[in-house]
């Protein structure tokens, strides 16, 4: 009895899932079956990247060719291994994956490759040679931002460093490269260092802890992987004027970008601290479009085109000299050089603004926000 009930319930669940999503496996027979294995979806970056992948799959150039199924592995590498195996078993032609670990997936990825499945990793790297990787050069990211900060401080000053998730290659590479730069300037001192977990909320807590025993006046600059928006907000709360904001090398959140605009700029929907403040910034990011690009490359690879194993994306860097507000955020507009979005369009300041790529005219702001492709 219990068993019958359970089967019925699960069948019902299955029915609901199929109905709710309006999916029909039958009609996808001639399309390329491609899976997306995501990591943890509980943060802005991951959700944005997923939206862009979905938008790419829905774009008219790919919609007839691709049957995309999205699965989530959570933070657990073991589950992602299982998931990729299951994807291979159910006949995937390509798997686009946000790898939870650069090394733990090697065996399963090799196994997938052996069966002719193309595996594309975006943002982070898979070290197995048969995998395709699409990401930025994290060493360059660390170096460029550190060099910018050193230059702003004329090689002299106390800085605070907020790093990412310890034990990941991305954090390791960025932090090491930055520290190598700082080490060349004996007058640059790192007086405080904390783990920021790539989260504005954590960055705020950690900065508050550091500032409990220090003053803003003792600090000359900030090097953060994520958190410049928050750091600027905290300085304004502490009574600093916008002209006194410390130079901050950090992430490409839209809130941070809006703060970079000269003070007094008219921006629709802006309210402090999510408002122009003329903050001295270099803004970089792992761009969330990398998944969408990986999907596009995966289709090309399935169709027999020659795709390089490693695609190093250009590092999206925006400084006060290059910051420019978008009007609507279409791809064409971004192509013309805009790189920040109005708060009336993007109400979340932690949202990542580095969504433009030459190579992905299929996706613009609407893709990143709601998964809708460009025309």
């Amino acid at each position: 009895m219990g068993i019958g009930l359970k089967v019925r319930r699960l069948a019902l669940l299955a029915g609901m899932a199929v109905c709710a999503l309006g999916l029909s496996a039958a009609q996808a027979a001639e399309k390329h079956k491609i899976f997306l294995s995501m990591s943890y979806i509980g943060n802005d970056w991951q959700a944005e990247a997923a939206n862009m992948v979905k938008a790419m799959a829905a774009h008219k150039s790919l919609a007839d060719k691709v049957d995309l199924q999205v699965q989530v592995a959570g933070p657990n590498a073991q589950r992602q291994i299982q998931q990729i195996n299951a994807m291979v078993q159910s006949g995937a032609e390509a798997i686009v994956v946000y790898p939870i670990s650069p090394t733990a997936l090697n065996q399963v990825v090799k196994n997938a490759c052996d069966k002719g499945v193309k595996v594309f990793a975006y943002d982070a790297e898979i070290t197995e040679p048969c995998a395709y990787n699409v990401h930025i050069d994290q060493l360059e990211a660390g170096r460029v931002t550190a060099e910018w900060l050193v230059k702003k401080l004329n090689g002299n000053g106390n800085i605070i460093a907020i790093t990412g998730v310890p034990g990941t290659s991305v954090d390791d590479q960025r932090t090491k490269a930055a520290k190598e730069v700082f080490a060349k300037y004996p007058d640059i001192k790192i007086v405080g260092e904390a783990v920021g977990m790539w989260s504005q909320a954590v960055a705020r807590t950690e900065l508050s802890k550091i500032l409990a025993t220090r003053n803003w006046d003792d600090i000359n600059g900030l090097w953060m992987q994520v958190g410049c928006f928050t750091a600027n907000s905290m300085q304004l709360e502490a009574g600093k004027k916008t002209s006194e904001l410390l130079p901050c090398a950090g992430e490409g959140s839209n809130g941070g970008r809006i703060q970079m605009l000269p003070e007094g700029t008219e921006v629709e929907g802006a309210a402090p601290p999510y408002a122009p403040a003329g903050a001295q910034r270099i803004s970089y990011a792992s761009p969330p479009y990398s998944g969408a690009l990986a999907l596009k490359l995966a289709v090309e690879a399935i169709e027999g085109k020659d795709v390089p194993k490693t695609t190093i994306l250009p590092l999206p860097v925006v400084t006060n000299e290059t910051i420019k507000l978008c009007d609507e955020g279409t791809w064409a507009e971004m192509k013309a050089g805009c790189n920040a979005f109005k708060p009336s369009l993007v109400s979340n300041p932690g949202w990542f603004a580095s969504i433009f790529s030459d190579q992905t005219p299929e996706v613009g702001l609407a893709a990143a926000l709601v998964g809708q492709p460009e025309n």
């Binding site: 496996a25 943060n43 959700a47």
Partner: protein, 694 residues
């Protein structure tokens, strides 16, 4: 269930029936797994081949091996939070010490190294828990932090090399085409367990888990049994670490950490009761595979990403429910009770329908003014001796940390900014400690805290969107939503008989899905100026408004737990469910209220974090789960319930926050900080040791 080796083999049908009853948990878990396998086979395109079985068996093996170890600890009445960290450490040790130039590696040697590392950690845990009689949860939590630091020292980023020989051996076939090696490894471990269970040690293990004092009084060496349990469990985690190294062929210092929560779910789904004495590792193995196969079910059903955590949570609850279907299950008992109540109501004999007259026995009536002036009230420190003994260590350590901060960093004791920051940063955990603490006082645990925080913040920010006026209706809406979440938790635990860990873990997943669906992945809106003012302003340049509110909150919390009927019921339930029920406490109603309180506290933290950060982010509650448990235990509460005082928990909050502020002010590497943090927590709770058993 401790009579495993006592059952007489000769009693035929009766013996079989008894054996079935005894292993009900494991059998039901096996049945659920079979059904899920059948479903996968039924709805996926091709038939289930040996290949699939082989994949599935290796996919779940790490969790299964670790779950076996965790089960043994739980059977003995313990709790081990260091399991995931041990797996990471073994992985890092193997990957960094194998020589890539010499690909031929001895499987026996490296397996022994892995198990040895695990056992060494187990001995460390065992020493503090068994010999020094400290609470398992806080010892293993400290060990977890220490190990995470040590792992990062061994290997600071993913990489390294694990010989393919290991992979070939552990992932290959024992009998080609018939029997995958992972199943053999698990089988061997289970056989070893069956042997162990039959020995005097096995009996002693169940006895200690069922009732420590009885076990001690019949002459069992409780210290030795407990110590051995952690060493054996460490060996299992070590083997799991070896297996994951073989499976991945390399090292990743973070690989094991996320396995921890699913390990507990596997144990509970497999029919082992938290608190000890009942269940066994076989069920946990099935439990681990049930959780693993859910991945495949989600894939074949093509459940969209945002729905996946909801589906997982639902499956977890259904599996737990299926595991409890029987005449004696809580659900059945509650249904019978409801029927009886209905019948009584029809007959007009419900207590509430009877005439209100005093039916108390006359002999128990206390004579008025019995307390004679000859026997004065004992002094304050005597009346509250126990509370003081358990609450004071946290404050003493806090003082030490503040002094060290002053000496090391300067600007602490005389710096009002330091104290203000300490109190503001403590406020989040102080609120959580009331909710989580009350749940722990009743002997439960609330794992749905992270996403209750997340969804509350996201919903609030979305509704408020920078307008103070909107707070008037947004705050009640969020708090009512939290009440509903807490009610759902409490209902599942009380009326459906699902264990608190599984129920709240499932709720957490469902809430995560809901938060993602509500926000479409990007939380909109931001905090209103008023809320931000409360969390970040400085009155007279010194004091943040939230600090004043915290004073009110602390007073209210102390009164709630210490001076109200609700508080006394909470302690009553924690000290003995049966006694509480017999003395007329509405256990069901009280437990549901307790979980509602916890959810409301989490929601308040979500609101506070939104004010503090100015916006809400999805995963903002993730970092608060383990600390919320840690502060309660560091503050002197007993994880099994019944003992603890809110002021003690508050001391725990202040201590851990002050410690983090000290560490943040230094430029020590993260690995060193993690180790120091673990050591200080361990040292702080040394004073909380149980007194020697008489």
């Amino acid at each position: 269930m401790s009579s495993a080796s006592l059952s007489s083999p000769g009693s035929g049908g009766l013996g079989l029936r008894r054996a079935l009853m005894r292993n009900r948990g494991a059998l039901i878990a096996a049945a659920v797994l079979a059904i899920l396998l059948f479903i996968v086979d039924w709805i996926s395109a091709g038939p289930l081949t040996y290949f699939d079985v082989s994949f599935l068996s290796s996919g779940g093996a790490t969790s299964a091996l670790a779950a076996i170890g965790q089960t043994i600890v739980i059977l003995s009445g313990g709790f081990d939070l260091s399991a995931g960290a041990v797996i990471s450490l073994v992985n890092a040790v193997l990957a960094s010490s194998m020589d890539p130039m010499a690909p031929g590696a001895s499987i026996i040697l490296w397996t022994a190294v892995g198990i040895g590392v695990g056992m060494a950690v187990g001995a460390f845990n065992g020493f503090f828990i068994a010999v020094l009689r400290m609470q398992p949860i806080v010892v293993t939590l400290s060990t977890m932090f220490i190990l995470q630091g040590v792992t990062l020292l061994v290997m600071d980023k993913p990489g390294g090399f694990v010989s393919p020989d290991l992979g070939t051996f552990y992932l290959g076939d024992a009998i080609t085409g018939w029997l995958p090696m992972p199943l053999v490894v698990i089988g061997v471990v289970l056989l070893a367990w069956f042997w162990l269970k039959g020995t005097r040690f096995g009996m002693a293990l169940y006895a200690v888990g069922s009732d420590t004092e009885s076990a001690a009084s019949v002459g069992i060496n409780v210290v030795l049994v407990r110590f051995a349990v952690y060493v054996i469990a460490g060996g299992c985690y070590g083997l799991a670490g070896v297996f994951i190294s073989a499976q991945t062929g390399s090292g990743d210092p973070l690989v094991g950490n996320p396995l921890l929560l699913s390990m507990f779910a596997a144990v509970v789904v497999g029919g082992t009761r938290l608190g000890g004495g009942q269940g066994g590792p076989v069920g946990s193995v099935f439990g681990a595979y049930i959780l693993m196969i859910v991945v495949n079910i989600l894939l074949v059903l093509n459940v969209s990403a945002y729905y996946s955590t909801i589906a997982e949570g639902t499956i977890l609850v259904l599996a737990a429910l299926a595991g409890s279907i029987s005449h004696a299950s809580v659900l059945a008992v509650q249904l019978r009770a409801a029927r009886a109540r209905l019948a009584a109501w029809r007959a007009g004999i419900l207590p509430s329908q009877l005439e209100r007259v005093d039916r108390r026995l006359k002999i128990t009536e206390p004579s008025p003014g019995q307390r004679s002036p000859a026997a004065p009230r004992p002094a304050f420190h005597l009346r509250n001796a126990e509370t003081l003994r358990y609450a004071l260590p946290a404050y003493v350590c806090l003082l030490l940390i503040v002094v060290v901060t002053q000496i090391w960093l300067g600007r602490a004791i005389l710096n009002p900014g330091y104290w203000n920051s300490l109190l503001v940063l403590s406020s989040f955990l102080a609120v959580l400690a009331l909710g989580q603490g009350t749940v722990i006082l009743t002997g439960g645990l609330d794992l749905s805290v992270p996403w209750t925080i997340g969804i509350s913040g996201v919903v609030l920010a979305g509704m408020v969107n920078g307008s103070d006026a909107a707070l008037v209706y947004a705050l009640p809406v969020v708090l009512v939503m939290a009440c509903a979440i807490g009610f759902a938790n409490g209902f599942g635990i009380v009326y459906l008989g699902i264990s608190p860990i599984v129920m709240t873990l499932a709720t957490n997943g469902i809430l995560q899905g809901c938060a993602l669906l509500y926000s479409q992945g990007t939380p909109a809106g931001f905090s209103s100026p008023m809320l931000r003012w409360v969390m970040t302003a400085r009155l007279a340049g010194l004091l943040t408004p939230i600090v004043l509110l915290m004073v009110v909150f602390v007073v209210a919390a102390v009164l709630l737990l210490g001076r109200t009927p609700f508080g006394r019921r909470v302690y009553g339930i924690g000290n003995g469910l049966r006694a509480a029920r017999l003395s007329g406490i509405g256990v069901e109603r009280t437990l549901i209220l307790v979980y509602m309180l916890s959810a409301v506290c989490a929601a308040v933290v979500g609101i506070m974090l939104t004010g503090f950060s100015g916006q809400a982010s999805l995963g903002m509650g993730d970092d608060y789960l383990l600390p919320s448990i840690a502060v309660v235990v560091v503050g002197g509460a007993l994880i099994t319930g019944g003992r603890g005082h809110y002021l003690g928990m508050l001391g725990g909050v202040l201590l851990l926050t002050a410690l983090q502020m000290l560490l943040a002010g230094t430029t020590l590497p993260y690995a060193t900080r993690a180790i120091l943090y673990g050591l200080v927590v361990l040292g702080a709770v040394m004073a909380l040791r149980e007194r020697r058993l008489q």
